[in-house]
Amino acid sequence: MQGTRSFRFRASLPLYVLLVIAAFQISIFPMSVSAYSCLSVHCYSKTRWAGYARGSYTAIYIVHISDSDVAGNRIDNETWLLDPNGPGQCNGLCWVEAGYTFVSGGNFSGGQGYERLFYAEQNPVSGFSELVDFTALYPGIYPGDYYGMAGIAIRQDATQSYFYTTIQTPTGSYGHYSSNQFNPSVNGGYTFNANFIDSGQELSGQNGGYSDPASWNSNIWIAPDYNGYYQTTPVDQYNPGNSSDVNNPPTNGYWSTYPGQPNSYGGTRVTYTCC
């Protein structure tokens, strides 16, 4: 009997060891790892150009992006037109933005769990809004779009009352008017002056974001006469090891943006595989 017990113990020993190793693995490889800290303040890998403009253009390489984080976190490859003197509900910054996004799935309001084009704005009357139209204006990215370019132009009209955003992908062309709440006659007299153009990647959440290497090409600023000029000198961009000139880069994001070559053609900004 004693021998049988001893054999049982010895036979079971590997099982105990197995359990200990499994517990060790779970402890060092948990299901959810906080890979970056972009929850309350989002992370950006982007380039900024300063100077008064009537609009902007960039050609964004369409790559696969995804986000498995919970709670509607997202990753976007996009461009912004910004006015840092936004009154009222702009709370200091009015903007329009457009690009493509992946919002993590779950029981949220809509448009989650797949790559899609998007447009959003913050205006002085109603604040931030993102309207969605999954079937017409801003559909999903189609298979034929990947590894092609999304040409995104944001143009303000001559009276500076609204914006018209166009997105041209390999499979389609889309146009979108901003709300009328950028119109000075509607918003109480405020005129949006586009003083900054940003292009790059936005990330929210703590883990699960992913992007293939992306790039922003043929970056152009649009003058009040609607002529376009290639961007030359960015005022702000993320350089490795220098976190002071970027807006909260992810600690483990492996993001970087560099002036491309030739810089005289608007440059090429590259975002390394995220995250």
Binding site: A11, S12, V33, Y61, A71, N73, P213
Partner: protein, 205 residues
Amino acid sequence: MLLSSMRCRKGDKPVHGKRFVSVAIGIATLIVLGVTVALLQVPRNAQAAVSPVPYTTTTAGATVLLPTVGALPSPYPPFPSGPPPTRPAQLPAVTGGPAIVTTINQNDATLPAFTAQDAADYATMHPPDQAFGRPTTVTKVSFLTASDMATQRLPEIPGPPSRLICIVEFSGQFTVSAPGYTRTSTVAREFYDARTGNYLGVNIP
């Protein structure tokens, strides 16, 4: 350990079944050990192991490596010339995405096709993603025409002025971000087409 598990003591009865189980467990242990060692060699972030290096450039005196982006298509989509088209006084209606199931007033286009409770129930389960998982509460459901919304500093919903919109208001913590900018509001709104139940968008005032 594996060897010891295979060894029998003198006088033990042959126990081939037990020995087989013991050997199997031992082999499994070795496999798990191997996987553990392999995992320890991999960086936490697997993408970090991706090799960059297609070409180099120099920034501020330092040579940096640029990741490859593959062969970029050329030419780029054309840069649109000239001013944008004139904005129509009335924008085409956005149809949105399927959301609330319509249950009432199917044949009367002037009335909502679902109840305020239907909207609250749906919205409770589908809060704005700007909450980022924080708790939210539906505080108000109202039905307004698009023209009524314009007088109340609500977002402009494209479509005819008579278009009936369901507005669901939430309390909670809702974060809006742009480069170098973050603000948190205690109010958020979702908009639904009151006739189709489709989700139209979100607003953080």
